[in-house]
Amino acid sequence: MSSNLGTKMDIDEAAIDEGLYSRQLYVLGHEAMKRMAASNVLIVGLQGLGVEIAKDIVLAGVKSVTIYDTEPVTIQDLSSQFFLRQEDVGKSRAEATLPRLSELNAYVPVRNLGGAPGQEISVDLVSGFQVVVLCNAPLAKQLEINDWTHANGVHFIATETRGLFGSVFNDFGEKFTCVDPNGEQPLTGMIVSVEKDKEGLVTCLDETRHGLEDGDFVTFSEVQGMTELNGCEPRKITVKGPYTFTIGDTSGFGDYKTGGIFTQVKMPKIINFKSLRESLQSPEFFITDFAKFDRPGALHAGFQALSEYRSQHKRFPRPRNSEDAAAVVTLAKKIDTDADDKVITELAYQATGDLSPMNAVIGGFVAQEVLKACSSKFHPMLQHMYFDSLESLPDQLPSESDCQPTGSRYDAQIAVFGKGFQSKIADHRQFLVGSGAIGCEMLKNWSMMGLATGPKGAIQVTDLDTIEKSNLNRQFLFRAKDLGKFKAEVAAVAVSDMNPELSGKITTRQEAVGPNSEDVYDEAFFNNLDGVTNALDNVKARLYMDQRCVFYEKPLVDSGTLGTKGNVQVVIPHLTESYGSSQDPPEKETPSCTIKNFPNAIQHTIEWARTSFDDLFIKPAQAVNSYLSEPNYLENTLKYSGQQKEQVEQLLSYLVTNKPLTFEECIVWARLQFEEKYNNDIRQLLYSLPKDGVTSTGQPFWSGPKRAPDPVTFNSNDPLHLAFIVSAANLHAFNYGLKGETDMNVYRKIADSVIVPEFTPKSGVKVQINDNDPAPQNNAGGDASELVSQLPAPSSLAGYRLNPVEFEKDDDTNHHIDFITAASNLRATNYNITPADRHTTKQIAGKIIPAIATTTSLVTGLVCLELYKIIDGKKKLEIYKNGFVNLALPFFGFSEPIAAQKQKYGDTEWTLWDRFEFKNDPTLQDIVNYFQTQHKLEITMVSQGVSMLWSAFVGKKKSEERLPMKFSKLVEHVSKKPIPPHVKYFIVEVMVSDEDGEDVEVPFIVVRI
């Protein structure tokens, strides 16, 4: 290990591997990661909690991770230590863990600090590290180490999990600098006025909320008149309203004329941490659940009492032993007389418990705190955090005897839940939808919990994806050797290795869930499930699974992460609302005219560039191939009005007039594209809408958010111009299967030699005469038919195809992101918008969701804490918790799930979980009659899937035809499609009205055929 340490560290310092760290870089940024690359971290205590922290930090990428644990591995460790195996029992924990931890990230050397068996960590061992983390260490040891770290400027974290309880303490020293307290993008916006005043008032453009808070700092650019503000030192603001704020004295400045952009400046925050010794006396608590406001105080005393008990008895209190627990309560009362007996008793009961989900929650959280200590990025937790999930205990509490160790790997879980509940966990059947970041962590937790290891247990996993490099940074079950393999398969093998009892219990699939796979995920499939866990990355699939779970009445836990933010939602049949009942508003789109003509932010030019990419390298090639391969493509295309001429012109251009035969011609093409996009089109726009133009109200047309563009003149010595030529030429060449070129001089030479046709802006009036002559609607031919005659017949080009580009953001050699970056930045030059680097452009163009292992780990821990409740079959709404976290702030929030909304027809209350059921393929008339006679409700509309089967509007003839039809026939009749053999039922929606003719909402109908 140590022999190749040097070379590895060289790699580390040389550059950040953007391919590997891609998603995490969008969370932390280059600066923070560079600081991390200079930090050596020591983790003491390598049970489940320690290994969780170590895993996340190694994945995240620091300079080195050193582990220390001289204790021998016990069978109980296997309850949560996922890098230990049965055969490791008896070896030193650190030694046994080291090889598996080292595999996670080639850039991070992992070392074992060594130590003799039984040797405790001591001050002399911890020097040389920037961060020291103590896991499950006795309080006295914590104090000993912290006294030294506090005095020596070393960042210190002590953390502990006991059953369903967890604690964290942070001490990052006396003057810790936090450079980015919230992790959000700096706010920015356009302004329309700045008052010249002692308290200069700034007003934002067009009622766009500035979003700033009192005490934030801003600077300015592009201000006209009051130019002193441009690039000024950050000025502290006071919020005056949602659209206004003051920036202090502006009276000595010039008069504000127009324009200007404010940009928030994040100011470093200095934080003074107290030492543990001091903090124990006057603790500052970080609240994780406002519904448990008195817990932190009780647990602050409880954990100290537990440590005291441990040092007195040289062991922890026995599981659910009331005598031991009473002793702990007595000790706690000495520290805090108000401490809640019940909570302390449970803490004592569970002291030997060690749960994988709890370690995932606390471990993920602590790992992020370590990264904060290394990088100064995000706000550290101040200073004590206590967390519990007592609600996860079974309703029927286990007895003392039920919790006795049995010599099994699940002993540390049995200590909390009892053997009876352990067998429930083992016989549980779950469907895990997705095997990416959340999926990997979930399977790890499940394998430790022993979920599905019993005779009846089963895990179904599906993921359509194969493993890519950027996955390796957090999908920790995958290694470089697995690249290209199916995620679900590799993950299943990996966790079956972690817990061999899972062998043969996991079924993997590659079929994506959706309407097209209902023959795979059919009724029999769902009937064999106890619940579904979503580990998805898109809303569409989440909504689909939600509908399935509602239909099959299965509990569902959904979760998701976005950078440091994460959330968990529990859906329980006949209790809570479903995932689809409430939706976050999706991100608002930018109006198309802003993208097309009036960009004012780099996002706009990137979106434009991304569209250009499709319009140049994907769509035309696809159209050509369709023309060549689909018999009636042209006729079918020409049927649609409006675009036929343009489409034929494009075909002609790509297939005949502008078809390149050499790569040189691709360079020429690229040069002409440059001219058209960045010069001609801009000149045309300025011709139509001149710079000095005014609106009808006399305002300058180009003002406010409308930035007047300037054409760009090609210069082959400008790297940006050349980058466009290179990427565009290569992508064009790709379309035609031509080989590219690496010599920049060739690009330069050819681009410079291109004779660019003189451009004259088209006069609007003449344009209408000559150019855009509309083809009459009933005469699809027109001049389009003339063009069509110039197209070679598809038969003459048998087998010839173009290669449409498939957008792939993560390949750095394919020119895709290069083109989009160059195209966007050139347009930004047109509009004098600050350009964005390749990395930023890639995120926006590729719609990359920032991700980091810490958040994922924590969120899956929360999911599994809910899963305990589901396995127990809890029926009380308030026991379940939807969770929201943001590790950057940090923030934890929990809320009771929202109850399913009750609706009524007649005297019957119903929720989304209710339905009507008809068997044996009834006729439509049967259904109509049922509602008439049984509920006095008149059906006005019947639909199934996307088909409108019947409505009051269809008329008498159709009604008479359809009402007597068997339902299956009716569906086939209207949808004009045969019913696939696997379909056994239909989900039918009806609209009904009551006797007064009022619309009444009723549940959906299941019609079995």
Partner: protein, 324 residues
């Protein structure tokens, strides 16, 4: 299509409602095979260059509806500053100002409003934007030409056989004014009160301060060619060939142009359409009665408007809005 059940019910309910009580000048077309295959038809508002046309808006719902707006495309060719050549419509309602309470009707009313109040400042079609700003008359002529060629069917869409609900019911004046400023492009909503208000084609009033030379071109000159082109092209087609006549007679005489293009349709339709300022027959009767200024025939409308004072113009704008 995985629109969830609640959203699906909502769409079906709204469509049912729109069919039962269609708003003025707006209809929807649906398909039994696919509930989500919805096309809205907007009748070009009277007093705009789109009059006589029927503009089809295709809806595409995503699984995020109603949290996210449906994608809407104008599939009828139109000359309008806020509609791109591929039918994209630039209105904030469909983008950043979308609210989950909005539905199909709101979108169609908004687009109809956009036909009355084009917003050159958020131009997608900058040529149309330029014309609207600089030479309203040319803009109008061209829009009318495109309308007559692409949007004017020989037979009124059957959907319009169903009478609409009374216009007063549909929306209040307040909400109209908000709608009117929907046209987007982060620019100010003060869209050219002058130029758009003269949608009855009064060059004298409508011309915004003109700058470029093109706007000062005599409008007749600018129209010599299209007539030729159009007529040539028409002659090669089974489509109406009479379009050229109204254009040659006077490019300003836009009402006649409309008549001309209609004149080739079945006589009965012509008859239906002539007596009323709108082709909407019965549905329009209430509007017509509250609209003394708007003359009975298009031809007259042009002349009156051309001489109309600003106040009448403003009134007309109000009326046009009311008729939504």
């Amino acid at each position: 299509m995985s629109v969830n059940q609640a959203a699906m019910r909502r769409i079906v309910r709204e469509v049912t409602n729109l069919k039962k009580n269609p708003p003025e000048g707006i209809r929807v077309q649906t398909s039994e095979e696919n509930i989500y295959d919805i096309t809205g038809i907007i009748e070009g508002p009277e007093g705009t260059p789109y009059a006589g046309g029927y503009f089809r808006v295709k809806f595409r719902f995503t699984e995020e509806f109603p949290a996210a707006p449906p994608r809407c495309t104008l599939i009828t060719k139109i000359f309008h500053p806020n509609v791109s050549s591929s039918g994209e419509i630039c209105v904030n309602t469909l983008k950043k100002d979308w609210k989950s309470t909005y539905g199909i009707e709101h979108i169609l009313v908004t687009v109809k409003c956009l036909l009355i109040y084009p917003n050159p400042e958020s131009a997608l079609d900058e040529e149309a934007g330029k014309l609207l700003l600089e030479n309203y008359e040319s803009y109008c002529s061209r829009a009318k030409l495109i309308t007559s060629v692409h949007a004017t069917p020989r037979v009124r869409p059957v959907e319009f056989d169903t009478p609409s609900v009374s216009s007063s019911k549909s929306t209040t004046p307040e909400s109209k004014s908000t709608l009117a400023s929907e046209a987007s492009g982060s620019g100010s909503a003060s869209i050219t009160a002058v130029s758009t208000s003269t949608s009855i084609t009064s060059p004298a009033v409508s011309k915004p301060p003109s700058k470029t030379s093109s706007s000062s071109l005599p409008s007749t000159a600018s129209f010599t060619l299209p007539i030729v082109t159009t007529s040539t092209r028409k002659s090669a087609s089974p489509a109406p060939t009479t379009v050229s006549i109204p254009l040659t007679s006077s490019p300003k005489n836009l009402g006649v142009e409309k008549d001309g293009s209609n004149g080739t349709g079945p006589v009965s339709i012509n008859k239906d359409r002539h007596p009323s300022p709108s082709p909407l027959g019965t549905a329009d009767s209430n509007v017509a009665s509250t609209k003394p200024v708007v003359p009975a025939t298009g031809a007259k409308a042009v002349k009156r408007a051309a001489t109309g004072a600003a106040s009448t113009v403003a009134e007309k704008r109000k009326k046009a809005l009311k008729r939504l």
